[in-house]
Structure formats: C-alpha cells, structure tokens
Point group: C2
Chain length 146, copies 2
DNA sequence: ATGCATGCAAACCATTTGCATATCC
DNA sequence: GGATATGCAAATGGTTTGCATGCAT
C-alpha cells in the first residue's frame, strides 16, 4: 500500500511508468519497511548496483516529486546535509536525529495548537507551517567511546 | 553592549583585533539595532563598498565564530538558503519567517519542557537541543497582489 | 509517431581550503 | 620578528540544467 501510494504519486506528478521509477519505488518500499533514512547519494549508489546507467539526476527528480507528494520527508542536519525518509504521508510528526550517527526517529511531540494562533495574532502573520527537529544522542552512540 | 559581546567573542575565538573584524563588528551592531536579517553575501557586499579588498572567506570565517559564540542565529529556509540575525545570545527563542519576503521575526513559543524529557525516555536518546521554525505570511505580503 | 523522461556532462552556487602575503602584537 | 588572519583563487560537494537520445504510450 505504501507501494501504491508511491506509484500513484508518480502518476499524478507526470505520466509515464518507466523502469527507473519502478526501481526507485521498489527500493523505497524496502526502506519504508525498515524505517531507515537515507541520502540521495545512498539511494543512487544502491540503485546503481543493479542498474549501472541510472542517472543521478533521475534520482533527484524522482525524490523531488515524492517530497512534494509528502511521501518522503526531507530532514536537514545542522551540518547542512539532507536525509530522506519514507513517511506514510498521514499523521503529523517531527523528527529526532542523532548528532553522531545521523539516525532519524519519528516523534509525536508538537506545539500546542493554540500557540500557533496566539503567535499569528501577536505577529500579524498567517501561520502556514512549521518545522521542528530535536537533536540528541542515541543509545548506541552514547555507549560508543566518543 | 552588543558591540562588546561581539568583540569579546572575537577575542575569545582567536587573538587578533584586525581591521576586517572591526568592520564586521560595526556593521553587525547596526544590524542588531535594526533587527534585520541578512545573508553572508549581503554582508560581504555591504562591507565591500567601504573596503573593496575585503575577502569573502573572511566574512565566512568571522560569521562562523559568531554563530559558535551564539551571537548570531543561522536561519535555514525551506529552499536551503541561509539568513543570519544578531541575537543577544541570551534568552531562548525561535523564528517565524515569511514565506514570501523571507523576513524573520523572533518568537517565544516552544515545547513544554516536560515533553523533552518524555521523548528522551521514550526513545532512549539524550536530548541535547532542538530547532523550531514557523513559516507564514507577513501582513505586507498578505496584502500584496501575490 | 510523438513527445516525455532519461542519462550524461556541464553549469551552478554556496562554502571551504591552500597558500603567499600583509598585518598585528 | 614571529605568528596569525587575510585575500585571493582554486577546489569542493551537493544540486540543477541543457540537450540529444531512448522509450513508453
């Protein structure tokens, strides 16, 4: 069903059902199951093992579509690097990332809703969105020497 | 006094009181007063008017020191661009940015503290920090045609 | 057959780095 | 005088773009 959503997103964003997109979708389904996060380069390298001519740009273009379709979350690290993660695209959530290994975990915390309204009034902005990321150190990295 | 803090930060980060740093500090004091946010390139261009040989790298290096000293806040936009803002380095706050004009406003909202502890327990992470940014549309941009 | 998506390579752009020189102490 | 910050230019790294070709429809 996550697979269906991905295919649906591709179909909606454009019109052709191509081999590269199939490969990307398949890999993303696996990544969705493991809950793992990845960089664009990770994804490209992995896909290239089975399809040496697959272009980097194709991966960028596909990922962009899926981010727009809210099927992938883009996570920004303090060092400027980006990771991605398959997210059902359903419930509202944010991320907690490990400072050391860059692992990403979904979390449900958020600001109380009335806060948004209050800020809107106070500043005279229409609040349209927000991003919240927590930083920490995961169990493994805490145990590791440094 | 913000000026003092900036000089103190430079002194602490290294040892020399150079002309480029003086110029940077002066400009930042002005920017602190107006509360305006800026990009590194903005800053460089402005400084270059009075000091044509000032190097871009010098600005990058100085800004980095001041960000580390918590005198400048780095704000990331969704499009990946970075803006900076002089912040006293005192009270905890976050930012509200205008989607259209990129104006930046400080806000005091934050997660309730107990939430952090809860998430820490739940995920087995040591929570060390967080970033929260609100996105919206400011009054001017709402009135503007698009 | 038509035209969109791809692959490739070059272009981009912000940022970093190496190094000779100028500057500060 | 000796060391460090600077300026410059080149390198970097992630991402985007232009274009000829291939492939899905």
């Amino acid at each position: 069903m996550i697979a269906d959503k991905i295919y649906a997103a591709f179909e909606e964003a454009s019109q052709r059902n191509t081999r590269p997109r199939k490969l990307i979708a398949e890999r993303l389904v696996e990544l969705a199951q493991s809950g793992a996060d990845f960089t664009i380069d990770d994804l490209w390298q992995e896909l290239r093992e089975g399809e040496p001519h697959l272009g980097r740009a194709t991966v960028y273009r596909s990922v962009e579509m899926l981010v727009n379709a809210r099927l992938l979350d883009r996570i920004e690290f303090a060092d400027g690097s980006h990771h991605y993660r398959v997210c059902g695209g359903n419930h509202h959530h944010h991320h907690l990332t490990c400072i050391r290994c860059h692992r990403v975990v979904e979390v449900d915390v958020c600001l109380p809703v009335d806060q948004f309204a209050a800020i809107g009034n106070q500043t005279n902005f229409d609040i349209e969105g927000h991003s919240l990321t927590l930083f920490g150190r995961c169990e493994d990295c805490r145990t590791a020497k440094m």
